[in-house]
């Protein structure tokens, strides 16, 4: 089963049990990449208007009504409008009024596609207390996100990536006790980290690859600590969101918890254009490899300086 099929299965079951799923243009060609079951409003699949900001509030209202909505935002760039009431109301509702407001926010990321819709924007959601943020890529991780949501009463932002949809396998961490460096990757950059790991291995550089599922709360596990501390050249956190976002928060937490210097590689701090040469894409395998090679070279040359 692919991730897309898993999402569709979860949604279908949720609707059958009285839940709702809502979003814009859900029934358009493809049904959001095959992640939405081909159902109707009578089944709980609600087509919204194109009023992005209002729609986020309507999802909040459905949560207050006890419907545990799956709110589908088809491009993460749209979160800037759609998430306003989710972070300002749903995330605070339990703290201020003791009233849970559980929303499963499917925020779908992609690579490229211009100045607004492209890239991941999950850092926006990590800034507010009261909301959990994860970035599943595999069917198993998607199920884990859903199980967490149903077992808790907080809003959950699921930073979903289109590259996850065809994935039909799990992605275990790859750890070597004598690694040169640890790559800690978020969302679709996990695929690039795996490719980079193989390329660098051919150069004799050993990389750990750790897949980060929870962005918030981020838990510095013993696995991460051990991998980073035992890596000769520390670690790099990779993300498809901007380099000033949660990727730096996570790198900071790891550095604080291990005493190891951490680096980040993510979207560059610039606005993307539609033209391919103006795009701003997550770190490619080539970019990751070049960065690692340079990091090692600089560290080694520093060592031999008098």
């Amino acid at each position: 089963m692919t991730s897309a099929e898993k999402i569709r299965e979860i949604t279908r079951k949720h609707l059958a049990e009285g839940g709702v799923a809502l979003g814009q243009c859900l029934t358009a060609v493809g049904w959001v990449g095959g992640t939405v079951p081909e159902l109707t409003e009578a089944d709980g699949l609600i087509e919204l208007s194109i009023a992005d900001v209002s729609n986020g509030g309507e999802a909040v209202g459905l949560a207050l009504a006890g419907r545990r909505p799956i709110y589908i935002v088809r491009y993460q760039g749209f979160l800037w409008y759609n998430a306003a009431m989710i972070v300002n109301y749903a995330a605070k509702s339990k703290a201020v009024w003791g009233v849970p407001c559980p929303i499963f926010l499917r925020a779908i990321g992609m690579i490229g596609s211009g100045p607004v819709t492209g890239g991941s924007q999950h850092s926006l959601l990590t800034r507010m207390p009261g909301i959990a943020v994860c970035a599943p890529m595999t069917p198993g991780e998607y199920e884990k996100a859903w199980d967490y949501f149903m077992a808790h009463d907080d809003p959950v932002c699921v930073s979903e990536h289109r590259f996850a949809w065809p994935i039909d396998y799990e992605m275990p961490d790859s750890i070597n006790e004598r690694a040169d460096i640890t790559l800690l990757a978020i969302s679709a950059t996990r695929l690039n980290a795996i490719v980079a790991q193989k390329t660098l291995a051919a150069d004799g550089i050993t990389c750990n690859v750790i897949h980060l599922f929870w962005l918030k709360p981020f838990v510095l596990t013993d696995i991460i600590k051990k991998a980073v501390c035992s890596s000769k050249y520390g670690g790099i956190v990779l993300d498809g969101d901007f380099e000033g976002g949660v990727v730096k928060t996570i790198a900071f937490d790891i550095a604080q918890g291990t005493g190891v210097r951490m680096e980040v590689l993510a979207l560059e701090e610039r606005t993307a254009g539609y033209a391919p040469q103006l795009d701003n894409v997550p770190p490619t395998p080539e970019k990751i490899c070049a960065y690692v090679r340079q990091l090692i070279k600089t560290a080694d040359s520093d060592k031999v300086k008098p």
Partner: protein, 299 residues
């Protein structure tokens, strides 16, 4: 043009029973004296948070509570009157304003963001008007009678209009009531927009009426609109005090409380109204006196 007479129907008060009219008046009195006591507590620095007093608009809330009973409620700041009219616990609101843990939101909500779980009143995060889309989503999810109140400034929020437009599309059982005091802090409506809420609502496909804040008129239209939800009622009213705090910029344009008492005089119910007013004044003062005394009690 704002008017204290907009939409008035001659002889309307006589069409309601004496009991109903006095019930509305009692709710008005409770809200009015509650706010006057809150004003004093604020001036005496017993209240140390921003307050949004509803003095002057209490006739609307009282009339709603009587003519539109037991809805789920989504309101925003300046809603002490609505909470009290619908039977919220007064001491819990007093304590909330005094920042006590026994407040209705444990002190987290204050005057602007309190809630009323006992009366189905949800909290507001105080971002102007965002409770309207939330109310619409709630009505969509629950399909039960919902009341969403807002101010004339909130009506200008793009997301308010987007949500109001969605309500008739889904035939939701929701009544939007705009407390139109003509001001966004101190900026008049005519400076901010060139359209009327009721015209936009009608364009969206809803029944919509614009009237003044005469409580009998409010009840009359609410009763009618209740059968045609979703619907919009835009009601001209007067905010007697500042947007935030307890100050005043001078005498109000009109004083509906006094106008209602005048109507009771005309109807020959002056004594009953006087007794209700006196009783409410004493009762509400008692709440505040007790709560403030407990607040300053040494540990």
């Amino acid at each position: 043009m704002r008017s204290k007479n907009l939409g008035q129907i001659p002889g309307l008060a006589e069409k309601f029973t004496k009991e109903v009219s006095l019930e509305v008046f009692k709710k008005m009195c409770v809200a009015r004296f509650f706010e006057l006591n809150a004003k004093k507590a604020y001036e005496d620095k017993q209240i140390n948070i921003p307050i949004y007093l509803s003095l002057g608009q209490e006739a609307i809330s009282a009339a709603l509570a009587v003519s539109f009973p037991k809805p789920y409620i989504f309101a925003q700041y300046r809603s002490h009157d609505l909470y009290l009219a619908y039977g919220g616990k007064p001491m819990a609101l007093v304590d909330e304003l005094l920042s006590k843990p026994t407040g209705v939101a444990g002190g987290m909500g204050g005057s602007a963001a309190f809630h009323g779980p006992d009366i189905g009143m949800f909290g507001s995060d105080t971002l102007v008007g965002d409770h309207i889309p939330i109310a619409v989503g709630f009505a969509l999810g629950k399909n039960e009678k919902t009341l969403a109140t807002l101010g004339d400034a909130a009506a200008e929020e793009d997301y308010v209009l987007g949500a109001m437009a969605y309500a008739p599309q889904k035939k939701l059982p929701i009544l939007f009531v705009c407390y139109d005091n003509d001001l966004a802090i101190l900026t008049e409506t005519k400076v901010r927009r060139s359209w009327r809420v009721v015209d936009v609502a009608k364009a969206f496909g809803m029944e919509a009426v614009e009237i003044t804040d005469d409580p009998w008129l409010v009840m009359h239209h609410v009763t009618q609109l209740s059968q045609k939800l979703p619907a919009v009622l835009n009601i001209h009213t007067v905010r007697h005090l500042w947007h935030t705090g307890a100050g005043t910029d001078g005498p109000p344009e009109w004083n509906r409380f006094q106008m209602v008492k005048d109507e009771f005089n005309r109807l020959g119910w002056a004594k009953e109204a006087h007794d209700i007013e006196q009783s409410a004044e004493e009762e509400v003062k008692g709440w505040w006196t007790k709560a403030i005394a407990e607040k300053v009690k040494p540990q």
